[in-house]
Symmetry: C4
Subunit: 230 residues, 4 copies
């Protein structure tokens, strides 16, 4: 079932080591089929070289496995919470990519220092708090709930990624490919923000009007970047 979606999720997972976002098995991509309410995710701890499209695991939104011989990614419950809360989220990626994770370990949100950031992410990339010892008992689900809680008050489409303190990065999009794309953006933005602070420790975020200009050049009714009408 969902063979086409499995193939896409497989491809998305394989992009992660290609873009240098994942070492060993430290990442996972998923995508949801909104008609059936089922999502497809990478199996847990399987090496990328050995991964095949048919190894993808099919889950429902109650965290029941619907199809697949292997265990789903240990982070499946986090993906699930995002799909349950936000109908616009069609794909989710989790990585420990080097620069994004360095910010997550540092416990800091990534300020918007330039248009590379503003083209894709409207405002700072949040760094969400540690879970409490109580919350850690249901670690992966509560990680998802923390992200959901934050974006209930925000805009999950305008800020398609978040850092989890002392952990790593999540990114999302309308499908698995866009979630991978946003993971690459996040890593590049994280790297340039760190280098920018190294070059000028007193740097301030980009002017709001420039952030607006770039974000709305690519998104919304008046977008004019690229070839397609918006």
């Amino acid at each position: 079932m969902l063979e086409e979606l499995k193939r896409k999720v497989y491809e998305a997972n394989m992009e992660l080591p290609r873009y240098g976002l994942v070492t060993f098995t430290w990442g996972n991509a998923s995508a949801i089929d909104r008609e059936t309410g089922l999502f497809v995710i990478k199996p847990s701890g399987v090496e990328y070289e050995k991964l095949r499209p048919e190894d993808m695991v099919v889950m429902d939104l109650n965290m029941k496995k619907v199809e697949g011989d292997l265990n789903p990614s240990s982070d499946t419950a986090t993906h699930c919470e995002l799909y349950r809360a936000f109908p616009s989220v069609g794909g989710v990626v989790h990585t420990h990519s080097c620069w994004a994770t360095s910010w997550a370990q540092a416990g800091r949100a990534i300020p918007c220092y330039g248009t590379t950031h503003a083209d894709y992410i409207y405002g700072e990339v949040p760094c969400l708090r540690n879970l409490t010892e109580e919350e850690l008992k249901d670690y992966e689900a509560n990680t998802g709930k923390l992200i959901v809680e934050y974006f209930r008050k925000g805009d999950v489409e305008a800020v398609p990624c978040a850092l989890c303190k002392n952990h790593g990065a999540f990114a999302w999009g309308k499908d698995a490919a866009e979630a991978v794309h946003n993971s690459v953006v996040l890593e590049e933005v994280a790297r340039m923000a760190a280098q920018c602070e190294m070059i000028n420790p007193r740097v301030a975020p980009a002017p709001q009007c420039l952030q607006d200009k770039h974000y709305f050049r690519k998104h919304g009714a008046n977008a004019y970047y690229g070839q397609v009408s918006h």
Copy 2:
């Protein structure tokens, strides 16, 4: 029309990801044919893997599209301003290359710390101010005008690149290939300047006489670097 120039501009664009200057579609190269006054530029938002020479867009210096099925790069107006102002500029490249953009985000000009810099760029690489909210209404053209305004008082051949604050880098040259070359130089120089300040926070620019020696070893009437007579 301009098939040979299209091929050269295509090649120049393809060099950008090869040199690691461009992720996704975050860059563009163009070149002008001074006889017809037409310039050729990459289409907007097309992936590099899918780009073909025939996709290049032909523009005139009044920003009218003369040939091409696709929209030209969203930064076309910036390229256009440079061609209008400076007859010696034959090719232009825009990138968000990592280290150059980190300096642009930091809002600092890159000092000349050594001969790698001095061999190609005479003096510091300027970091141009943010546009005002009013200027942002015609963003790309005004970015070009800002660069032009700066180099009217300077020497657009001796300093073949500039940073735009909170944005990215522009470089130019006598043709598209030289503009790419100068973009690579800029990125390398930006990286070494940042690392150099990390190693010695109180570092001063290279002595002026050393800068002169290296620049004029490669440029001008008494140049003796390479195989061709100058």
Copy 3:
């Protein structure tokens, strides 16, 4: 003799330059056959491109060469001490990998700043003191004894790596492949810890409860990461 083990040790050594952990001959991997009490190690100073499985040297735990035309790695005595002291150690790797060695040169233990670290290493990566001038007379054996002395009071399985001050890194595991794996983890963790301190100089280690959660998600009786039962 031990042809299968030689092949595995050869493969493990070849992984080191592939993962970017080794330049020239600056690294070595070994593994032990606990039945015979013999271990197999890379020959000294042989280029990786020229290495063949049959070049591996077989040693006993008294540092006598049992088979092999070439001299064993100059670090053989360090490997030997680890095998003598810890029955659970089946493979050992030594590298001068860039970030781990930078911490070793800095003389600092690597704090646990996040879950990438906690997934594999329980607590900080120790940085062992310099040998005394007296101890340097039997340099390689005493390097091993220093590591052994430290882990007699600790847990050599929960912390599968250590830094030697002003020198480099050692990592180990149940076999050569796992020792390579842990060397890659160490390098990645070392890089992210340094970047994390650059982004936030006052950063604190990850909360202990989060470290526990991640370590025991992958290790011990209640582990649930991956496909195999623990």
Copy 4:
């Protein structure tokens, strides 16, 4: 003439971009034939992809071109001074490799922070002063004379490299291949020293007894590293 030496110098030059030490034409390797007193060097400003063994230029120690259609590297006079002064120098390499050049721009000698450094370089890598305005008139020869002056008081074999302030790196060895090898060592050592100071700004050099141990493990009468007798 000297066809074998030309081939070796060609190979050495081609190693420079492979090891990531050279962008464009920013580097050159040479080697000398002590019997004839002639040395072979890369031509000036020729792209590496287009370089052929027969393009190498043969020079004598009075800076007269003996064979070759092309101009020799603009840095030829620096190489020449080293060959004239030190009979043990058989090959010379000049690069603007990124980390070594960052130290040169910073105007600092590279302290010996660990055994990777001590294995090849006995003590710090010197950073030589800027030339005076007068000395710049004969720039390349005086660069060589400055290096020679420094090593007249030192040991050109024990310290096979030097930085030139605000410029770049020179390395040497018994032949061109060893000079390339030492250039790679220098770049790696420069990188780890910078990162080490970033991790611990108050770091001290490695203890002298450890530096001695490692240097003499590989060099001199009692060396025991590798396969060959010393």
